[in-house]
Amino acid sequence: MAEIVIKGVAKQFGAFTALHSVDLTIADQEFMVLLGASGCGKTTLLRIIAGLEAPSQGEVWIGGRRVDHLPPRARGIAMVFQNYAVFPHLTVFENIAFGLRMANMPQAEVERRVTRTAELMHIGQLLKRYSGELSGGQRQRVAVARALAMEPDVILMDEPLSNLDALLRLEMRAELKGVLAQSKTTTIYVTHDQVEAMSLADRISVMNGGYIVQADRPTEVYRNPAARFVGSFIGNPPMNFLPASPDGAGRWRVAGRVFDGPHAEAAEFAIRPEDLQAASDGLNAEVRVVEPLGPHTLITAEVAGQPFRAVLESDRQVAPGDVITLAPVPDRIRWFDPETHKAIA
């Protein structure tokens, strides 16, 4: 059992606040992804959980034990670093065995675990090599195997795939998901890649400016962003936003059309580009750029002077300069408070 509880963790670097009082609970065996742009505090939070950084305030609990005063070695964690951190003076075998030897494990058990994790990560034939003789992908495998061999309660991963090329990243992503699901550890995985986050996570914590903006299941984060930032950060292309003006109780005028909306002082209209349908009745959009992507076509248009994107069926014939009518799917429309940028239910 290794539930992770983070209570009011904050971190200041001099005058700069990297984390503002973060609260987060990660269930046993859950795969939690910390997602955000660089500088949002996700790596700082991971390093605080690992014990490589001390929090300025707050508590970190792992498996019912308060650990924020403990050194990394006493926390029952293993970590995979962005640049792999494979020890260059040791063979692959000794790299994987490093933590086991530190724990004074008998030689037979060391050999059993190293062989098993190496097989699992498909590097069984590389055990005698040194880090300098490995490719980036192979080094990444060694780093993951080294963490898995510890059979830790918690695995922490700091952008482990970001140094790999695109094809290899795709392959490793699927493999990681399988391996980690089998190992039954709690995983915290830091990335700036939303596709990686969506595909791996049980839950995603979207971070921005030192806050956790939303922590929820990937589909929930995608469908029901808790804040404008989440909608604009997740999704490629991101969510469209349009200003709205009140038009009677619960009715809002958006780009000349009237929609049913929340009962509120002010609101901003939002819709995902793929939740638009070409129809005879809807928002008038002046097409600027047409990008055929194969399965569908990406349209960049202008609606009421605002940039606006739509993903349409690829059999639609559209040319720049055309004015088309885009109808939002009614139950996919979202509303945000223009002041707080929070979602309005």
């Binding site: 990394p72 070695r73 970590m79 670093f81 020890f87 530190m102 080294r146």
Partner: protein, 280 residues
Amino acid sequence: MSDVTIPGPRREEVNRAGRFLFGAGIALLVLWVLVPIWFLFVNALSAPSEVTGFPKRFWPSFDLASVRFFWNFQGVTNALWNSIKVAVLTMILSIGMGAPAGYALSRFDFPGKEFFRVLVIMTRAFPLPLLALPLAVMFIRTGLDDTVLGLALVHAMLALPFAVLITFSLFSGIPVELEEAAWTLGCTRLQAFVKVVLPLALPGIAASAVFAFVISWNEVFAAAVLTIENRTLTAFLLQSLNVSPLPLKFAGGAALVLPALIFIFAVRKYLFAMWGIANR
């Protein structure tokens, strides 16, 4: 287009002149270094009678009479042994203090870090002649005068800035993630240093130790002022310069230069690294 041509050297002539100047400059610098060394060795390895002779032969006659004479000269072996003792002690002291300082500079942020770095270099700003007299007085009071330890302390001070600088660049070249990975795998800070950082830094630390050895080996001023009975080789040769015959001076000079040359050549890669020049 106008067909005015500016009279002057053509491009290839300029290039040729530039190449010639470049080559001549290099030749001059090489000769500047090599001629004295050649002179030293050709005389040290020639028969005493040849030393005063002119013109010199390019290859020495490999007559070991000079060297033998030097070796049997009263006090030489003792001075040589003193030189080795002082240099080894200097090596231990400067690495023992310099490597931790280099590690701290590369891994920790602490108040006054930049000031400390300047201060380390500043120890070389005071000319030794200025320090020698007060040091001699202090050493006589504390009983450190004319001892191997006393001289080694002064030499360690001279070698320390280099030891700190070399080890600083050495440790900075080892990614901190390697240490962090070791911590997460069960190491204390000290264990991570011993198991991960030290194996990677050892060749460079050895180089910096050798450099400290050479600094002590070559140092003459402090050695001459602070020792009387237990002279090092440099101080001994300086003292007996005007009473010893020419072959002895050359043989002594060669004996001093040879280890320094070999050592510096062996560790040149790391000395370049000290100044931030890529070493691969």
